[in-house]
């Protein structure tokens, strides 16, 4: 399987092609209930994570709450 290049939280990485966003986040052990996810600047509905296939040059942002004023 050809690898694809994705940018996650500002860093490029090579991953297996044909992965769903869900599998990729699971591989990274992201606690899905405590985060929000953006794919190419659009918020991803968590119910659609399994259906969403990652493509070359996709940009993903995963955010959560931290201490702040």
């Amino acid at each position: 399987m050809k690898k694809i290049k994705i940018k996650l939280n500002g860093k490029w990485s090579l991953i297996k092609g044909n992965l769903s966003l869900y599998s990729h986040l699971k591989n990274l052990k992201i606690p899905l209930k405590k985060v929000a996810i953006e794919l190419n600047q659009e918020i991803v509905d968590k119910n659609t994570l399994r259906k969403t296939k990652l493509k070359n040059k996709d940009k993903i942002e995963i955010v959560h709450f931290i201490g702040g004023g």
Binding site: I37, I43, K46, E61, V63, F65, G67, G68, G69
Partner: protein, 260 residues
């Protein structure tokens, strides 16, 4: 005491017990932050939205220390310098767990961290239309406060002084004018340094205060958290009690009658 019992702190139809809102930034660690919040009695805390650290997952998570089911998280856009950044941040915050009550802060300059009121006004209007309940960090300008109210802000949050400066309220007159012109919750946000500053804010008729640095960076944050809790309560009671009028001359406290 009837008045005290009915003295609810209501933001967008939701009742809160404490009039002290605290920030969760700048503490030594999460444990210290959680303990200070508990001592402060706050039931609303501000939180920031940031990237998850992908490489270091052992880093403690805020939600593991402060239970969002018990304490209301108020997502904040601290660090945003444009309307677009702030909107993006709060839409993401809502996605994490349905948060609609948010604090908007669009900064205008890095040195003073003053709010950019044009971007703030624009963002307030858009967010309100999207169904957010927007508590707005703003300057202490009564005209701008009115404009924010007109576009649907759910609370007006003027600064006392620059963020983190600890200078206390710099313009009491403007705060008083804003108090008199609005029925919206008025919360002093930013710039308080010590307990008496919080009391003064409450005595001016503010509905609450938001404090982060003054507690987190005190030598003893726990003691300062307690001091702020008591100061807010003292100021509120003082405001509600109807103070005496000021006089330039003495008025004896003991009756003259029966004097030997």
């Amino acid at each position: 005491m009837a008045k005290l019992r009915n003295d609810n702190f209501i933001i967008d139809k939701k009742k809160f017990k404490s009039r002290l809102i605290v920030g969760t930034g700048k503490y030594k660690n999460m444990k210290e932050c959680a303990k200070a919040i508990k001592i402060s009695g706050a039931d609303i805390v501000t939180v920031a939205v940031r990237r998850v650290n992908i490489s270091d997952k052992k880093k403690p998570l805020l939600m593991d220390y402060i239970n969002p089911k018990k304490i209301t998280y108020l997502p904040n856009t601290a660090g945003c310098f444009t309307s677009d950044e702030a909107l993006r941040t709060l839409r993401l915050a809502r996605e994490i767990g349905g948060w609609k009550l948010v604090k908007l802060e669009v900064l205008g300059d890095k040195k003073n961290l003053f709010p950019d009121m044009l971007e703030t006004l624009k963002s307030t209007e858009i967010l309100t239309k999207e169904g957010f309940s927007v508590m707005v960090y703003c300057n202490d300008d009564p005209l701008m406060a009115k404009r924010l109210e007109n576009v649907g802000a759910s609370a007006i949050m003027p600064l006392a002084a620059p963020i983190g400066s600890g200078l206390g309220i710099q313009n009491k007159t403007n705060i008083r004018i804003i108090r008199n012109q609005t029925k919206l919750p008025l919360i002093i946000d930013a710039g308080l340094g010590q307990a008496s500053d919080a009391t003064i804010a409450m005595e001016l008729g503010c509905d609450g205060v938001l404090i982060n640095t003054a507690i987190a960076k005190a030598k003893n944050p726990f003691q300062m958290a307690l001091a702020m809790k008591n100061a807010v309560s003292a100021g509120r009671n003082s405001y509600l009690s109807g103070r005496i009028s000021k006089s330039n001359y003495a008025k004896p406290s003991s009756p003259r009658k029966g004097l030997i």
